[in-house]
Amino acid sequence: MNAAARRTLATAARVLSQLRHDPRTVAMLLFVPCLLLVLLRYMYDAQPGTFDRIGPELLGVFPLLVMFLVTSVAMLRERTGGTLERLLTMPLGKLDLLLGYALAFGAVALLQAALASALAIGVLGLDVAGPAWMLFAVAVADGLLGMALGLLVSAFAATEFQAVQFLPAVLLPQLLLCGLFVDRADMAPALHRLSDVLPLSYAVDAMGRITRESGVSGRVLADLAVVAGSALLALALGAVTLRRRTD
C-alpha cells in the first residue's frame, strides 16, 4: 500500500473510531432521517399521493442536512483543537485528510441512506415509478454533498456556534429555492436562475424524476452527476482552505 493510501485509510479509521466513542451522535445520524420520514408519512396520512411526491425529495434533503452539521462541527474541532496544525506539520497531504473524512462520513452516509430508503419504500409504502436503487444513489450523493459543504464552511467558522449558523445561512436558501415548495419555473426569473446554480435543486429534480419516470433517464444521471460534481468541487475548495502556514 502506498503512503498516501495508508494515511487516508488511517484518517478514515480514526474518524470512525471517534464516532464509535460517541454512540449518541451515531444514533442521531442514522435514525433522525428515519424518524422525520415517519413523521412525514403520517402527516400526509389522508393524502398518500403527497407523501409519494414529497417523500423522495425529502429523502434527498435529510442526509444533506445531517451530514452538513456533523462534518462542519467535526472539522471545526480539528481546526480549533490544534490537531489540524499538528497534522499539517506531519507528512499528511491535505487530500489525505479530506479523503479520509470523505471515506468515513461517506460510509455513514451510505448506511444512513440505506436505512432511510429501506424504511420509506419497505415500511412506509413509498411508491415511486423509477428504480429504488436510484433513490438510494441520489440520497448517498446528497449525503456526500452535505459532508463536503460542511468541511468547506468549517474554514469560515471560528466557533461551533458559528458553524451551526451556517446551516440556515448556506442550506436553507437552497432548500427554499430547490423546488420543494414551489416549482422552480414559477419563481421570479432571478431566483429561477439562481436556483439553477444551486446543487440541491439538482438533487430534488433527480428525486422528482425518479418518482414520476420508470427506468433511468439520462436526465436523472445528469442531475446525479451535478450533485456529485458539486461535492467534489466543495472538497477541492476545502483543500484550498487548509493552509500549512497561518498568521
Partner: protein, 249 residues
C-alpha cells in the same frame, strides 16, 4: 537509531537570519538572527507574549513570515522533507479528546509511517503506560500534555520543538521530563524548549533570552551568569533588560 536522511549532517540544526513576523499589523519578530547547534538542549526563555511561540512556529514552518529565512536541518523551514524529521508540541495539547491515548498515538504513528512498536515506546517514555486505554479527555491537563509530547516523539525526530512542555506539571514529573530531554539530546537529537519558568534554564546547554521579539542573550547558563554577575537566570534576565532597554525596543 536516528532518522538518517538528506541534508548536510553537520551545520546547525536551526539557523534564522533577519526573521520578521507581523501579525495583525503589529511586528512580533522585528528581525531575528539565531543559531541552534545539533545535539543540544536550547532553552527559549522570556515573558509571556514576547514572541516565543511565534518563533517556534516559524521554525516548524507553520507561521507566515514577512521576511528573512529560517533553515532547519539544512532545508527551508516547513519543507516537505522535514515533516517526519521535526517533532512539534504546541502549548495547548493537540490530541483527540474523544480517542484513547493508544488510539491517538496509533493514528499519528500511521500518519508518520513510524515503526509498529513506536506508540508503546513513546507511551512508556512519557510514563503513561497505565493510561493506554483512557480517553484523552478524561486525563488530567498534565497527562494530556504528555500525550501530546509522546506524539511528537513518534518516529524519533532529529529536532524537537517543544512549546512550554512542562507547564502545569508537578516538580517530580518536570524533573523526569527534563531527564528524558537530556537522554534524547545524548542520543543525537536537538531540542528547542520554550519556558517562562526561569529556573528550568539550568537544565539547558544553551539559553535564548527573549523580550519583545528580540534576543537579549544567547549563551550557556554559566556564561550568562558570569557576564551579568547575577546569582540566577531570573536576575540575569532583569539585569539584561535594565542594561539594554533601548535595544529591546
Amino acid at each position: 537509531m536516528m532518522n538518517s536522511s538528506a541534508g548536510p549532517a553537520d551545520g546547525p540544526a536551526i539557523s534564522a537570519e533577519g526573521l520578521v513576523v507581523r501579525r495583525g499589523g503589529t511586528v512580533v519578530l522585528p528581525g531575528l538572527d539565531l543559531t541552534v547547534e545539533r545535539g543540544t538542549v536550547t532553552g527559549l526563555l522570556g515573558p509571556s507574549g514576547c514572541g516565543k511561540t511565534t518563533l517556534l512556529r516559524s521554525v516548524v514552518g507553520v507561521q507566515r513570515t514577512a521576511a528573512g529565512t529560517v533553515t532547519v536541518l539544512g532545508l527551508p523551514a516547513g519543507a516537505a522533507a522535514l515533516r517526519d524529521r521535526v517533532g512539534y508540541v504546541t502549548q495547548a495539547p493537540s490530541v483527540y479528546g474523544d480517542l484513547t491515548v493508544g488510539e491517538n498515538l496509533d493514528y499519528f504513528a500511521a500518519v508518520l509511517g513510524a515503526p509498529p512498536g513506536d506508540p508503546d515506546r513513546v507511551i512508556a517514555q512519557v510514563g503513561l503506560d497505565a493510561h493506554r486505554r483512557t480517553p484523552a479527555a478524561r486525563l488530567s491537563g498534565g497527562q494530556r500534555a504528555r500525550v501530546s509530547l509522546a506524539a511528537a516523539l513518534l518516529g524519533r525526530p532529529e529536532l524537537l520543538v517543544l512549546d512550554e512542555p512542562t507547564v502545569g506539571l508537578d516538580p517530580v514529573l518536570r524533573q523526569e521530563l527534563w531527564r528524558l530531554f537530556r537522554e534524547l539530546a545524548a542520543g543525537g537529537a536537538t531540542l528547542l524548549v520554550s519556558s517562562h519558568v526561569m529556573d528550568e534554564a539550568t537544565r539547558c546547554d544553551r539559553l535564548l533570552l527573549m523580550r519583545e521579539g528580540r534576543l537579549l542573550a544567547h549563551d550557556t547558563p554559566a556564561a550568562l551568569l558570569a557576564a551579568t554577575g547575577a546569582p540566577d537566570v531570573e536576575t540575569a534576565f532583569l539585569t539584561l533588560v535594565r542594561t539594554a532597554p533601548e535595544a529591546a525596543r
